[in-house]
Symmetry: C2
């Protein structure tokens, strides 16, 4: 795949990769070196599972570049996206929450670069690295909060508001300024958006068409640009 102009070149594997990331930010260069030497690094294509729900949690991961969706598959085969994870976060820390299988599937939403470590290192990371535990649990807490918000949203808001909210969250996390507005920095389909908002791709399509007519957004296939974030905020309120 050729790098699109908006995609950062994939970083090389050196200390500077981790030093600015919260879970490692308090560590010395020497410690980071050790951590990197224990890591495997791997590039994933878009739409590939990094790990799958219910499988034994053998490794934990750090997403260096790209985006990941955390999904669950229902008995009837539909898949629901619970969370979007931006680069710089840990992933699959089953151990942190006392599990030995992954609680959900992690699927790349764009081409991604990922480090991973065998799970048996988890305890020593927690023990040896200052701030690692704190930051990890902060992350878990944030995710709990986000999922919590999803529940509220789905319980109380209409589809249009939910889509607006989802879009706002996406441009916050992964927005990139372009001349006509803010573009979502990775390929996203109507289908993806419908899984995020618990509706159908048809409805999402209609909603977006409507907004496009009113000049709120602009979209080509797999790509959405928000022209008027403020209008979206209004829409998201009800």
């Amino acid at each position: 795949m050729v790098d699109a102009p908006h995609r950062k070149t994939l970083p090389r594997l050196d200390e500077s990769l981790l030093t600015h990331l919260p879970p490692f930010s308090r560590l010395e260069k020497r410690q980071i070196r050790v951590i990197l030497d224990q890591a495997s690094s791997r590039r994933y294509d878009e739409g590939v599972a990094i790990f799958e729900e219910a499988h034994p949690a053998e490794r934990f991961y750090m997403l260096l570049d790209g985006y990941v969706r955390v999904i669950r598959i229902t008995p009837n085969g539909e898949q629901i996206t619970a969370l979007h994870i931006p680069a710089g976060q840990l992933l699959g820390m089953a151990r942190a929450i006392g599990r030995d299988t992954y609680p959900a599937t992690a699927m790349t939403a764009s081409e991604s670069l990922v480090l991973s470590w065998p799970m048996h290192l988890w305890d020593s990371f927690i023990r040896d690295y200052d701030g690692f535990a704190t930051e990890t649990y902060k992350t878990v807490g944030q995710r709990l909060g986000e999922v919590h918000n999803r529940v509220i949203e789905m319980a109380t808001q209409q589809v249009e508001q939910r889509v607006a909210n989802a879009l706002l969250r996406l441009i916050n996390q992964t927005g990139r300024k372009v001349e006509t507005g803010i573009e979502i920095d990775f390929p996203i389909t109507r289908q993806d958006l419908s899984e995020l908002t618990a509706t159908t791709l048809h409805t999402v399509s209609r909603v977006l068409s409507g907004w496009e007519k009113r000049g709120v957004v602009e979209s080509k296939r797999k790509r959405i640009t928000v022209r008027d974030p403020h209008a979206l905020m209004v829409l998201s309120q009800g």
Copy 2:
């Protein structure tokens, strides 16, 4: 309030209170003594807030007896129950997830007995007490899983299935055997159930009436008995 026959007498404040609870189970009697001496204990009536969303997180809590609902209030004033917390769990551990305000409101679903400690003790609890951190985070992880499940449910299931699921969860957590089946061990209204399942009390009422006719449940005001849990499981599937 007069103790109903099914309510355990409220426990006295001695070591045995905590020794069997996971976050403290690995501690010595001496340590538990210290912990108890630092605690305040308080009884709450039904339907009272223990702490409120967005307020400064000054204390953390252990629910010794009773049940607590974790709720959020929406801009339009509706309240949504995200979680039910049974006795024996910690509550309001904002610190654990790196926050200094409570992320949600905790409201008693029945008369409850609660211990609490000032939040500044949190770090020392984590540091000094073996297993406390692990168990805490296991709890946070479980809650993340539960909320996650709620999202899936709300996204993919019909109201009847959701109500069936909610009822099943409730009897698992707090069921009490009676001669006609399993009764939910605390007062619960149609309204409560509708907040749990993101529907209206009207619809819940209709659903329950239907089930009552078919002999699946039996209910008086604020009290529900499941006569045929198996039928409920079938209903919950779809």
